[in-house]
Structure formats: structure tokens, C-alpha cells
Symmetry: C2
Subunit: 395 residues, 2 copies
């Protein structure tokens, strides 16, 4: 096991009555002029946005708003947010939505504390030293961004999707009401479940497999999400199922399940290019890549994949062959993805196979022009990434 740091300062208020705390939390964390940042229809239709505004009004807290965040959020809107906040003297950001909204707000937060172009942070030209404080009202459990140090943004020009990790952007608070997720469409629910599991899988598949406590808790989390994820599609207004998934979404990515391991995150980075290139929903893209990544890297640590197969995917152990157990586990995950309506390869994700040109360009972008290798369990260069896209391209 490796030495680790663990820092999760986000104040979580979870449950049916959690939203009432909003004005107190904004004040507690120093907000006097708030940007309400959101996406599109659902927070308007559900009445949540109106409720937030009237709560802030009643508490005498000034606000401005910026909607229009799209999935795989764009840098252009973050620029607009930075300008708006500067003009209006905003000192606190409130993201109302899911991971795209939260990440967009995080980018605005970085931008407000930096005189240059906020993309510099994503381009490796500037290391952030501060960020405007951020609170979250979460409506889509998936990204874990409500407690994480991660913020992913897509540059409009060239559709370059990049991430930045820093404790600076961890939200000050996160309000989570599972009832807000009842109306999530099945596809988004399933993509969220996939993303949540994957945040822990990315930490689990490691050569460092001797952190027993982290393993046991990670397996408990993944097993619970898998079970509840399948059940909730047939029972979308089941509070308990929604609650498990929502809380798991935060714990899966606040690094609790990565303490003592070495993260991989190659699947995430290989997926990011699918989101940019095909506009794929991130979670669906992960499901389309993971089984092929797993098969490609399995030989690096077959007993690890066998442990996952038995303890998470729920297949019986083949005591004579960890490899066979491992492969049965990957097959069980493919079945699971299909049962919850997720794709398990590129044609299922996109509606057609990717072309060789698309694969080459995605692999080029993912490896930043063959300059970086992805992952840790096996460090993947350009050719490896091409091979994985090709494996995923078969129906």
C-alpha cells in the first residue's frame, strides 16, 4: 500500500429536508452575492430553481444566474460565467444540477481567482492557487463532483476535454435530496450508476492490493450500487434505492475508496474522447470501454480481477483459475451493463462502428499527441489505446 492524503472538507446535508439549509450554508461559508449556475429544463420544471431563488431572496442574499450548461460542459460558458461574476461582484458559486454544472462552476471559480485565461490551468501552463467558494445542490448522482477535487471541461475549439485535480475546488457544502432524482430518465440513471461504480473501479484495479480496509469498503460500495442500480430502474421512486446511489456517488469519488491504492483512470481518459467526438453520455461511454480495457490489461493482475469478479460482479470463484474467474467477472459486467440499458461496445454506444480515422484521432488526443501514457495498472501508450478502441469497436 502507498502513503496517502485524505481531505474531504465538504459539508454534506443529506435527506428529504436537506434543501431548507441552503441560506444558512451560503452564509456560513461566506456567500453574500451568489451565482446560481444550472443547466436546462429539469431544475426549472421541477420548481427547484424557483425555490432556490425565493430562499435566497427571503434570506436577503443577492444572486445572479447563469443557465445553459450542457453535458460535457463547454469552456465558452465558463468564460461567460467568469465575466458575469466579475461584473456583478459575485463571491459565492452555487451549482444546481449534476456533474456538468458543478464542473462548470468549478472552472468559473478557478477563473475568478486568476488573471490569465483559465484554460492555462488545463493546458498545464498555470497551477491554480485559489478558487471562489462553491456550494452544490445535487440533482444527478454520477460524477461525484459534489465532494471531489476534480473539474473536467471541454474546449469548444477542437472539442478538447481535459480535467484538473486540486483540493481548492472541493465544494464547501453539498445538499443532497434523493427525491430530486426520482425523475431522472432510466438512461441517465444507468449512466450515473456506471460512472459511480467506475470511480471506485478506477481506484480498485491497482498493483497495490494490500489495503484490506479500502478493498473491503470499496467492494461493499460497488456491490451496493450494482444491486440498487438494477433495482431502481424498475422502481424509480424508491427512496432507499435512490439514497444508496446518491450517497455512493459522493463516496465513490471523494477518494475514500482510493486510500492506499494507486489510481488508474485510463478508462476515464479513453472515454473522454468518446464524449468529445460522439457527444456520448460519459457513463455510457465508460460502459462501452471498460470491458475491453479490462480484457486488455487483465494479465497485469489476474487475481485482482478475480477478486472483483467474486466480490463485486457476483460470479462463483473458479479455484483452479483466477484468469477464468476474472473473465467470467468481465462477462458478468457486460451482462449487467446490458440489463441496465447501457452499451458495452462502441457500435452499441454510437449506433455504428467508429472509423479507423476516428480511432486514430481519439487515441492521438487521449495521449496528447503520443506524449503521455494513460493509467497505472498497465501504462497505455498510443498503440495500446488504439488496440482498446478497436476491441471495443467489435459488436
Amino acid at each position: 500500500m502507498v502513503d496517502f492524503k485524505y481531505y474531504t472538507p465538504t459539508e454534506v446535508v443529506f435527506g428529504k429536508d436537506s434543501e431548507g439549509c441552503l441560506p444558512d450554508l451560503v452564509r456560513k461559508w461566506g456567500g453574500t452575492r451568489v451565482l446560481i449556475h444550472y443547466g436546462g429544463g429539469s431544475v426549472v420544471r421541477s420548481g427547484l430553481l424557483a425555490q432556490v431563488k425565493s430562499q435566497l431572496d427571503a434570506a436577503g442574499i443577492a444572486w445572479v444566474e447563469l443557465g445553459g450548461v450542457v453535458p460535457n460542459p463547454r469552456l465558452s460558458l465558463a468564460y461567460e460565467g467568469i465575466e458575469l461574476c466579475r461584473r456583478e461582484g459575485v463571491d459565492f458559486l452555487l451549482a444546481v444540477g449534476g456533474g456538468s454544472v458543478i464542473d462548470s462552476a468549478k472552472v468559473i471559480g478557478y477563473g475568478l481567482q486568476y488573471d490569465g485565461d483559465v484554460w492555462d490551468i488545463y493546458d498545464g501552463k498555470h497551477k491554480p492557487v485559489a478558487s471562489t467558494p462553491l456550494g452544490v445542490i445535487l440533482t444527478i448522482p454520477a460524477s461525484g463532483s459534489e465532494m471531489s477535487d476534480s473539474a473536467v471541461i471541454t474546449k469548444d475549439d477542437g472539442l478538447i476535454k481535459r480535467g484538473c485535480n486540486s483540493d481548492l475546488c472541493r465544494p464547501r457544502f453539498a445538499i443532497m435530496n434523493p427525491e430530486r432524482t426520482y425523475t431522472l430518465p432510466p438512461y441517465q440513471t444507468a449512466a450515473g450508476v456506471t460512472d459511480i461504480m467506475m470511480h471506485t473501479m478506477e481506484r480498485y484495479f491497482s498493483h497495490e492490493d494490500d489495503m484490506l480496509l479500502t478493498d473491503a469498503m470499496a467492494e461493499a460500495l460497488m456491490r451496493t450500487v450494482k444491486e440498487c442500480g438494477e433495482k431502481v430502474l424498475a422502481d424509480p421512486e424508491n427512496y432507499q434505492l435512490r439514497a444508496q446511489i446518491m450517497w455512493a456517488g459522493s463516496l465513490a469519488h471523494n477518494n475514500l475508496t482510493g486510500c492506499g491504492t494507486v489510481s488508474d483512470f485510463a478508462t476515464h481518459r479513453i472515454e473522454h474522447e468518446l464524449s468529445s467526438t460522439f457527444g456520448a453520455t460519459h457513463g455510457a461511454g465508460l460502459a462501452a470501454i471498460w470491458p475491453h480495457w479490462a480484457e486488455y490489461v487483465l494479465a497485469e493482475n489476474p487475481t485482482r480481477f478475480a477478486q472483483f469478479a467474486v466480490n463485486v460482479a457476483g460470479v462463483p470463484n473458479d479455484f483452479r483459475s483466477p484468469e477464468r474467474t476474472a473473465r467470467a467477472g468481465i462477462a458478468a459486467m457486460v451482462d449487467f451493463y446490458h440489463r441496465i440499458g447501457m452499451p458495452a461496445n462502441l457500435p452499441e454506444l454510437v449506433g455504428r462502428p467508429a472509423t479507423e480515422e476516428e480511432i486514430a484521432e481519439m487515441a492521438w488526443k487521449a495521449t496528447r499527441g503520443r506524449t503521455v501514457r494513460l493509467g497505472n495498472l498497465k501504462k497505455l501508450d498510443y498503440d495500446d489505446v488504439v488496440a482498446i478502441y478497436r476491441m471495443a469497436n467489435k459488436q
Copy 2:
């Protein structure tokens, strides 16, 4: 499941090389004049205290020191600490040791931010509104105080042991090096393991048993600590075993394992009187009480005790009778306590049975003169507490 808040802002630095961060962490969290607070021999003998002083010296951070904290720490020393810190203009507290030292420092922190007698907070006369920031170098995994909101202190006059819970006292940082725990004597190691498990057991035995994720993670934690706790006694310098126990100690009591449940903590409060009356080591006192508390309250939720029996204590499920499974689980825990050298009743703890007068006085103090009831799974009044002490009094 119940709504919950979750707030664990402590910055954890964990591992073999964690101590090097000390000066940076003190500075980051605003310390310029530090009180080094500690107990007795071991931090001196191990060289840790000297290392801390030279690290602060090298970083140009001023410090004063106050040692002498005893197990079940005393209010009198906290008074001394408050006076010393006021005189010396201390703005940051550094606890070097285990739960007693951390709790003593927390009481000093409250006292420094309150003009009255800090005992007022423990006597219900004053609600704390601030606390001087605190960092921890942990050497004994047990109390979880390094991440918890809890601070327990014993008033010298009358040996009244009381606790206070508030987010204000959660440490700013906690440095944890499992190697520092290699030299812990077996009895203290076992008492720590018992305490760690109990912090999660106190949250687990609840009528609210539908938070599947919390359950699964809590069971994973308890199972891991139980397994590693037994192994480490035969292999005290095993880094991995020590690491699991140390990290579990923090997670068991930072409320991760209580999200969505209703805590009980009757066993803790019944035990506190054993510590005050007989000077018992807290963890050992918990082992002497828990089996009898469990038997006394089992009928409130037998399926819960059966689940614990199978998923944590490791007994086979008796499908025809949750009660029998539950009792087998309690018996397995008694065996476990004996295997790790812990007592499982009062005569084993104290060396003799408690007298009826002692039992009456402890029950009187635990229920604050028959004015409060303890616990939640079953709310225990004075007569219940007497009954449990009497059950625990049989060999």
C-alpha cells in the same frame, strides 16, 4: 433511514513518511505559537517528541509544551493548559499521542475561546461557539478523536466523566504513521481494536437498518478490524495490519459508518463509569459491557443482531431462528474478546465482582441521578443500567 449531516474536514496525511509534513500543516492551518500536548513516556522514549520540537524549531514556529496527560484525561490538566496557552499567546494546539491527549487538547481549545469555566460546556450550561485550532500526530489508534467531533473529560472532583460533541473541535489535520504503533503493548492494541469496532457497533445497532450502503461499509470495516486485530497481536510489526487498524480507527468514528442510522452509544456511557470508578482502560471496559448490553436489548431487533453475527462475527446463519443466530454472534464476540486478551465481564475487568453499592453509584452517575435514559435501540433507565451491570458482574 434518517436524514444526516456528514462533515469531516480533517486533513489526513497517512503513511511512513507522513510526519515530515508537520511544519507545513501547522502553517497552513494558521499556527504561529503552538502548544505541544502529550502524555508520558512513550512519545519521549520513541524520540517523537524531540523530533516534533526540532521540526518546529527548524521551521521557526514557536512552541510551548504540556505533558502529563493520563488515560481518562483530567479536567485539572486542561485548566493548566488553558492558563499556559493564555499566558504564552498560543494560537494552535498540537496533540501528540492517542485519544486522551487529543481530548485533553480539545478541552483546552474550548476553554481558550470561552471566558467562563470550560466545565460549563460539559455541564450543559454553555454551548461552545469556537475552539482554538488543533492538529494531531496520532500514536494510538482507538478513540477516533483525530477526526471525530467528540471530546471526553473527567472532572477530578467526584470522577465525573462527560463527553461533548461539536464540529468545532474536529482537528484541522491528523498525521498517522502506522509504524508509530508497533510498540503499543498487546493490551492497549486489543483495547484499541475493541474501541474501534465499538464506535461502529454503536452506530450499527439501530432500528434504522435500511441504509444499505452504510451497513455494507460498516460491516466491511468491523470485519477487517476484527481480523487484523487478532492477527496483529502475533505480528505486532506488520505494517499492513497496523495500517488497517489505524485508518479504521478514524473512519469508525468520523461518522462515515453512522450516515442514515440512529446511534446508540449506551455501551459507551455505561462503560465511562467503569473507567471513572475502577480506572479501567476504556476499550477493555467496553468489552466487559457489550455482550451483556447486547443480550439485554437483543429482543428489540433480533434480525439486526443476526445480521451482525453472520456478516461481522462470522457465525453461520441459523435460518430457522434469527435469535439463535444473534446469540451465537454475541458468544462469538465473547470468544473474540478472550482471544485478544480482553475481559468479557466485570470480574475479568476489575479482578473482582463490583459491589452492589458500586453498581448503584455507577448507574446513578450514568443516568445523571436518574434524569436521563441511555441509548436508542432500547432507551435504558436507571433500573436497566443496574440490570446490565449485574449481568456483567457474573463470571
